[in-house]
Symmetry: C2
């Protein structure tokens, strides 16, 4: 690297402090170069540009992006079928491809996404930027409990923490008891993994009689599944671990997207790495900062699998006012607020599972686990529209006797939806170490 890292005691890269003007002029020139490249190297985008009459050379303003169609997951999947195995969106000669990771979706065939060596280098540097912003420092013991097989998180976090100069323990996402023993024995300061696995570890530590809050762990970094930004989850994990929890938001296709900094003000983006738009899910028009909308991403320099106007499906609120630590890049206030496509519509109310999670996790007498169930009993017999939703939770030993009643009332009050709450004994619902499925059809 030719650039000095870290830039300061709290900031990894000078770019994090750029003025809005400088960010935007950088994005404009980066997009000009990137779109010209993508139009040449990706057969999918070459066709899209041709069909829409888009000329990368005519790209004059960031608003010109809106002339291009959105790229959705189904476009990616169609591209894979069109040009197996890596797809027509890929923009790389295989001799330059260095890594492939896969989607962990269980509903479809795992989709591959490629990286070149410069992509991996860039990826590691942004990971390092984010980990540094959360508080990771040279010499800190960093226990990586993201899975390394197929999944993007294990190697990403390892490369990033290594670049910061931390001591990486590659624990991966199994061996629960051994993870706890390792924390104890090696003085781990930072752990990273899915929120489900972090909750599972906390339960295991308790079973083992290990007092996690008094351990050396100061930072719990979570990502890889929705829910990290939910206050209920955050409060519970922070209490169980006696440590600060940081939301690490990313996706296979765009990795990482944005992470909490030490200020925990919501995931901070890297606007020199990705360009963002926030769109109304119905009109697909830009919404103002401060309004809810779907996050749409465009890579500024990804070589192997560049995405242009990638529809994340994640509902967010953007803020570009900067933060008190001198960082100027946009952040997502409150993190990911829901999935545009997981949203349930119940008697006209938009219900995100994450909103339910928020309430359940903060509610006394429940464990970490819950699942929303859709079956015929909550559908209108004629129209099939939802009239309510079933919610299964687990009671703890010290749960109040009226848990079912009290939780139903709270949910109704907060969310204006009718819930059929089923309270089960602790340990009944399935635990996932990787990605939890929160809505099931029965």
């Amino acid at each position: 690297m030719t650039v000095a890292r870290p830039y300061s005691d709290t900031i990894w890269d000078e770019v994090e402090t750029w003025s809005r003007d400088r960010i935007e002029s950088f994005q404009l020139s980066a997009l000009r170069r990137q779109l010209a490249d993508v139009g040449k190297r990706s057969r999918h985008y070459a066709r899209v540009f041709r069909e829409t009459g888009f000329e990368p050379g005519d790209f004059r303003s960031l608003d010109d992006l809106s002339a291009l169609p959105l790229t959705r997951k189904q476009d990616y999947v169609a591209g894979l079928a069109e040009e197996p195995p890596f797809g027509s969106l890929a923009a790389v000669d295989l001799k330059d491809a260095a890594r492939v990771h896969f989607s962990s979706g269980t509903t479809a065939r795992p989709a591959p996404v490629l990286w070149t060596k410069p992509d991996l280098d860039r990826w590691a540097d942004v990971y390092a930027r984010y980990l540094y912003a959360q508080g990771l420092r040279r010499g800190d013991v960093f226990q990586c409990m993201f899975n390394y097989a197929w999944f993007v998180g294990g190697l990403g976090a390892t490369y990033g923490a290594e670049r910061v100069g931390a001591l990486v323990i590659p624990g991966s996402s199994g061996d629960t008891r051994r993870q706890i023993e390792t924390i104890q024995q090696y003085g781990t300061k930072v752990v990273i993994g899915t929120p489900s696995f972090m909750a599972h570890l906390a339960e295991t530590a308790e079973e083992m009689g290990f007092d996690l809050p008094s351990s050396t762990v100061e930072m719990v970094c979570v990502g890889g599944e929705p829910g990290a930004s939910i206050p209920g989850t955050r409060e519970r994990i922070e209490r169980q671990w006696g440590a600060k929890m940081f939301d690490c938001y990313g996706a296979l296709e765009c990795q990482p997207i944005g992470w909490d900094t030490a200020l925990q003000l919501g995931p901070q983006l890297a606007e020199d790495y990705i360009h963002t738009e926030i769109l109304d899910p119905d009109t697909l028009k830009t919404v103002e900062d401060g309004q809810r909308g779907v996050l749409v991403l465009t890579h500024l320099d990804k070589q192997a699998c560049p995405l242009v106007r990638w529809w994340t499906g994640d509902v967010v609120v953007r803020d570009r006012a900067g933060t008190p630590d001198g960082r100027t890049h946009a952040r997502l206030v409150g993190g990911v607020l829901g999935r545009a496509d997981d949203m349930l519509i119940i008697r006209g109310v938009n219900l995100f599972p994450t909103a339910v999670e928020d309430i359940v996790r903060a509610f006394p007498g429940t464990t970490n686990e819950y699942v929303l169930v859709i079956d015929d009993s909550v559908k209108d017999a004629k129209t099939g529209f939802l009239t309510g939703v079933k919610l299964r939770v687990e009671r703890t030993d010290d749960a109040p006797a009226d848990l079912e009643y009290a939780l139903t009332a709270r949910l109704r009050e907060k969310l204006s939806v009718r819930f059929h709450v089923e309270v089960l004994p602790a340990g009944t619902l399935p635990r996932t170490v990787h990605k939890a499925k929160r809505v099931i059809q029965e």
Copy 2:
């Protein structure tokens, strides 16, 4: 990197072609620097040097090494107890430590071994050298089926293959069917993993009706457990995969040690990376090249956990005559021939489990699996000395009716030991995906 890689169409690093004189003068100056460093930074070695009156400054000839005591596994373990958690052999300030991996021994607490960033860089370069020597090239699809959790193989192979410029699929050591589907779908050319897992994958491919020998796989690189060098194992894996098998010999403490090149003449060492001695296990005197002895290693530049005269316990035969491909570094003829400490002594005969494996795997009608069993029935009632050994194997569907008799006779003839062979149905013995245990006490 300032040095050009690769050096030629077949050789990664010019150093592989150095003359014997140049290798030895390099080793001498490297050892002078290394031992001075180790004596300053490792408390264990500082004490050893003091107690033996060894002055790194007086180090004049490679033979001077023999003034120092051997370092054995028990010294490492004692060092861990003395200075937890990383031990008194470690020679690194924790702020410079970048990685820890762990021993996978199931009998003792996992022992940690550290790397600095320069160690990781050096490690990746030697891995790249070895993979290149086997035939891995830029753009080749490389499916890494070593485990990434705790173990040293997954990340090591990933970093090395990435440096060569291959496309790495991080599959890790589970998901057997998915590994086969991935080979099929992505045109994998090179696979790496333990010999047990490679055998297991071959069985799975057959169950799936996938014709592995006609697949894109050309190279099967195996390591992480003994047996890779055994002709019976090699022949079977090469037949099952329709590909060349390469022995990748390493250990957590010294990683990698030596790997087969494309010529398959036995693991080639990197003598600019480690210094080797071959010692008689009883007298601890140097044996001549061509004679069996135990491999003893000294790191020439490892920073974090440097080892001086490390007793591998592995019985080898060294050859320093060079190979027809222009490589000049020593190789281990036939690979690891056995373990000095796993050796069973049966009525005066030294029996290595690997010698049994060699015969079993080449014997028609048996599967890949076997286990040696020691119980009272094979011990002299008075002295407790072994009079023979039990061997459990599995029969295939087309096994001859006299398998037990024929195998017993063959073993007796080849090894001069009395075997009690028990033939079990296929699938009865436990399969391991990681490291197989070949001798059990009952």
